[in-house]
């Protein structure tokens, strides 16, 4: 203890002595008495200030020092509480203050650690406030804009005081407001300084608010105070419906309870949470976390979301499915169960990509991933999805067993890992896979999530002693949604068609499927790459496109090839243009990088993709290919629609043939059939199979308009086929029962005409005619009745 401190304490004792010791706080006084005491508060404040001025010298204060009442109030017991700040030459002396209690009987007590005495500071700071603000901004190095203009206050900074705050009742630091950043030896006990307030609240920096203390002469940053109240990392226990008994990385919040907030995973704030206001609970948008969604007791509505928090024991879940019907059950131990499973799934996926591939978080930048357990609405509560913009997954807490619609909660590891992988392939709106029916890219997106979900499961099940940075060679379950459907897996890897919807191999037209089904060929290719394909036709891994089978290269090599492919080669251009051919090439490039050209791994990639009808097998010849090739030049429809070049328009109720291309075969004949696989597998549109097909391939189109699917199969190689889309349109604008070029006249004079328009002037029988009508009519006339 140094001399200055001794002198301060002695002075405070001297102040306290004539005022006598305070008694315990009395009970609440009658309101009229309280009011009378409150009325005398200004006088009491003035009296205390006078007393302190009289004791200034004894307290080590000089002529430039003053203790100024900053605030005061009277409590219900009649005590006046006065907060006084220490000012030197008008500037606040940081950390030097007094709190004085004046009881109703006039007795006074001082509360405080002491005053900064003996300040000798002639003049003032030599750098400008603007320079101080610039120094603080340089230290912050914000990437986005400030939320407000910096404020700068001239202060006196005691360079040797301590700032840690410790709550002995809780036995921990309850509010971590920053670190003591100065203690630079050689500094004078007090220096002139500036206190600069900076605040950010944007997607680049997240939410943050700081005070920087800047040396008034040198511009050095003496201290940084982080004003956001942050939680403290803790470890709890969980009982998941799927995960079982687990430990959880949680947080101790400012109120002494715990939250499913894992500050050990995530260095950047979550973009979907960054705009939430700091509520003082200790919550921060940085750190993996799981929220729940409130429902109204019927599961039908109410869309408020809350962090799983307020848990005093840090023990989460009861291992049971959510009892959906009970209002408010989401926050109970039963409701926490889904949160436990989501947290386990998210962290496992996070750790998988981190340990195996060295990836920082899902997006590669350490951005916080979060999850929400959905309890509202059957279609949501029994489903799961990933939000690119908010970098968070939504996982249905399930309506079973209260409502048995055949599905359980969507919170098992493979489901959560599947969605989390979308955070890898689509980390932001600057880089994402287009995932909608109409694009092969959708299948690549979903297949990648399926594949890495399987790898995450295998990695999570590694035995003790297995390295963390490799995917074990053990076989996985080869399934997706193993527990989600109560009747069996959602999807299979070895033979995707076992679900009755997914194709085992690529064909032209697969893009019309929902990506979860068109994922089938990629799932199978990567599975076979890892585990091999059988030559036995009875085996589920056998492929007619690779009848001799192949030897797998193992989980780890397959995972590394595909991870490299999707992160370094298969780069989406935001238009949905990626195809399975692109995927094959990306995998070949990645395998060549990792294992060298001509390696067995590269050959295995060729064979694995060949097994799903994408490219030739290693050393094999090109395959027969049937396709609804791009028939158009650059016309209006080709510019309007991604699949425009292959769209075909034909008149309804006519005898005709769609156009198709057969490559790599001398016999280009095809057999036609109505409909196609995508009709039952998430077709892009409402698609029909109508009309009749004659033996010679002549299609008598039905009178019903709209999209129709037709399938052309190669005569030369019946394993090759293509599904095409034809839009049957009205071409009889003049209603003379003939569909010919003169009908185009009525279409033309109705162009962009809405009033007085006969709907039959539209190819769609619509009250509007525009360029799509013109383009479709011209295309249909030429296609239906080509001039040789």
């Amino acid at each position: 203890m140094n001399f200055t401190t001794l002198r301060r304490l002695a002075a405070l004792a001297a102040l306290a002595a004539p005022l006598a010791a305070a008694a315990a706080s009395p009970a609440a006084l009658p309101r009229d008495v309280q009011a009378r005491i409150e009325a005398g508060r200004p006088a009491r404040v003035a009296r205390v200030e006078r007393q302190l001025r009289a004791s200034a010298t004894a307290m080590g204060l000089g002529p430039a020092d003053a203790l100024v009442a900053d605030s005061s109030f009277t409590d219900e017991g009649g005590r006046t509480v006065i907060h006084l700040v220490h000012r030197h030459a008008g500037a606040r002396v940081l950390g030097s203050q007094l709190v004085v209690h004046v009881e109703p009987d006039g007795t006074t007590r001082t509360i405080g650690r002491g005053l900064a005495a003996g300040i000798v500071l002639p003049g003032g700071p030599t750098i400008t406030p603007e320079a101080a603000a610039a120094a603080a901004r340089a230290r912050l190095a914000a990437r986005g804009p400030l939320a407000s203009e910096p404020t700068v206050e001239r202060i006196v900074f005691p360079t040797r005081f301590r700032s840690e705050t410790f709550d002995p009742a809780l036995g921990r630091s309850t509010v971590r407001r920053g670190s003591y950043a100065s203690a630079a030896t050689g500094l004078a006990p007090f220096v002139w300084a500036y206190r600069v307030h900076l605040e950010v609240r944007n997607a680049l920096d997240g939410a943050g608010e700081w005070f920087y203390v800047v040396h008034g002469d040198t511009g050095e940053i003496l201290r940084t105070d982080d004003l956001l109240r942050r939680a403290t990392a803790a470890v709890g226990t969980g009982d998941g419906h799927f995960a079982g008994q687990v430990t959880l990385d949680t947080s101790l919040m400012n109120d002494g309870t715990y939250a499913l907030l894992d500050t050990t995973r995530g260095t950047q704030p979550n973009p979907g949470l960054v705009y939430f206001a700091d509520d003082g609970s200790g919550w921060v948008p940085t750190g993996m976390q799981v929220w729940w969604e409130e429902h109204d007791g019927t599961g039908a509505s109410t869309w408020n979301t809350f962090l799983f928090q307020g848990n005093a024991a840090n023990a989460w879940g009861d291992g049971q499915p959510l009892d959906l019907i009970t209002y408010g059950n989401e926050a109970s131990p039963n409701g926490q169960t889904a949160g436990v499973d989501v947290m386990v799934g998210l962290r496992t996926a996070w750790d998988f990509f981190g340990h195996v591939f060295g990836r920082s978080g899902l997006d590669g930048n350490g951005t916080t991933a979060s999850g929400t357990a959905i309890c509202t609405g059957f279609t949501q509560a029994d489903n799961a999805w990933w939000s690119i913009g908010s970098h968070q997954g939504f996982f249905g807490a399930g309506t079973w067993p209260r409502f048995d619609d055949g599905v359980d909660a969507a919170t098992d590891l493979d489901v959560v890992a599947h969605e989390a992988t979308h955070g890898v392939t689509s980390p932001s709106w600057d880089r994402y896979f287009v995932n909608g029916a109409g694009y092969e890219e959708a299948g690549l997106d979903e297949g990648t999530s399926d594949f890495f979900s399987e790898m995450v499961e295998i990695w999570a099940g590694r035995a003790g002693g297995d390295p963390d940075d490799a995917v074990p060679a053990t076989p996985g379950d080869g399934q997706i949604g193993r527990t989600f459907l109560r009747t069996g897996p959602l999807r299979w890897f070895d033979r995707p068609s076992k679900d009755g919807r997914s194709p085992d191999a690529w064909f032209d037209g697969m893009r019309y499927m929902d990506g979860h089904f068109s994922a089938g060929p990629l799932n199978r290719a990567l599975y076979l790459l890892a585990r091999g394909a059988s030559a036995n036709p009875a085996d589920d891994t056998h492929s007619v496109y690779l009848p001799a089978g192949m030897t797998g290269i193992g989980n780890d090599s397959a995972a590394r090839i595909w991870y490299r492919a999707i992160t370094e080669y298969l780069v989406p251009d935001l238009t949905g243009s990626l195809t399975f051919d692109d995927a094959r090439q990306a995998a070949l490039d990645a395998a060549t990088d990792l294992f060298a050209a001509g390696s067995g791994e590269v050959a295995a990639v060729e064979d694995a993709f060949a097994a799903v009808n994408v490219g030739p097998a290693h050393g094999g010849p090109p395959r027969v290919k049937v396709s609804f090739a791009p028939w158009r030049g650059v016309d209006w429809i080709s510019l309007q629609y991604t699949d425009g070049p292959t769209r075909q328009f034909l008149p309804r109720g006519e005898n005709l043939r769609p156009r198709v291309t057969v490559e790599n075969a001398s016999n280009t004949d095809v057999t036609w059939s109505l409909g196609g696989p995508s009709m039952w597998n998430g077709a892009e549109y409402f698609v029909q199979a109508g009309g009749t097909i004659e033996a010679d391939g002549t299609w008598t189109t039905p009178y019903q308009m709209g999209w129709h699917a037709v399938t052309a199969t190669s005569v030369a190689d019946p394993s090759q086929f293509a599904e095409g889309r034809v839009s049957l349109i009205n071409m009889d604008m003049d209603s003379d029962l003939e569909q010919d070029a003169t009908d185009m006249a009525e279409l033309s004079y109705s162009w962009y005409l809405s009033n007085g328009l006969n709907p039959s002037h539209s190819v769609y029988i619509a009250p509007w005619v525009d360029d799509e009508d013109v383009s479709a009519f011209v295309d249909a006339l030429r296609t239906a009745w080509p001039v040789p």
Partner: protein, 201 residues
Amino acid sequence: MRSFPLSAALAAALLAGCSSGSSRASSLAYTDPPAASGWRLVRDPSSSASRLVLALVGPAGTLTRGVGLNIQAPPGVRFATFDGGLAVEEGGVYDLRSVDDDPAEPLAIAAGLKEGNVLSAGVFQKDRRRSAKDSGATLLRVALEIDPSTGPLSGSAVTLRVLRAAAIPEDIGQAGDPPFVLARKLALTELDVAVGTLEAK
């Protein structure tokens, strides 16, 4: 009725006899219709020895916004395409683009070969903001060629028929007209097209 199998030798003799008097034509000769006015198909100067190009010409002073026709050629005479693959060519009279003049916009010009060797072709202005044009010029062209394997015999007359022709008239109402007025005016003008004589050579 009894039938007798036709021997290969007899069949060959009959075929030889059929072709002994004349040979198949290799070109088409066309004489314009006598009418000097009205709607008519006339020989276009771009025709060649092997390719007959016919131009649809209307009466001078008649304003239209587009024409279409269904024209039937006899067996062995086929319709041909122009540069760009279309079996119809515009005459340069109509403004096929909208006033916005978007290079990518679709144009209402098309042709298809329907059953019975009927070419259905049309060229139309789609934008009512474009003015109607004088029809007294070549409005569209179609091309004919002899199929050397199935074409008619040289010297034989062949018939070319216009099954239907129609034009968009000048008055198609205004977009702001009451619907019942507009609906009455949205009607095509049926055309009587004079066709000349066609001879296979």
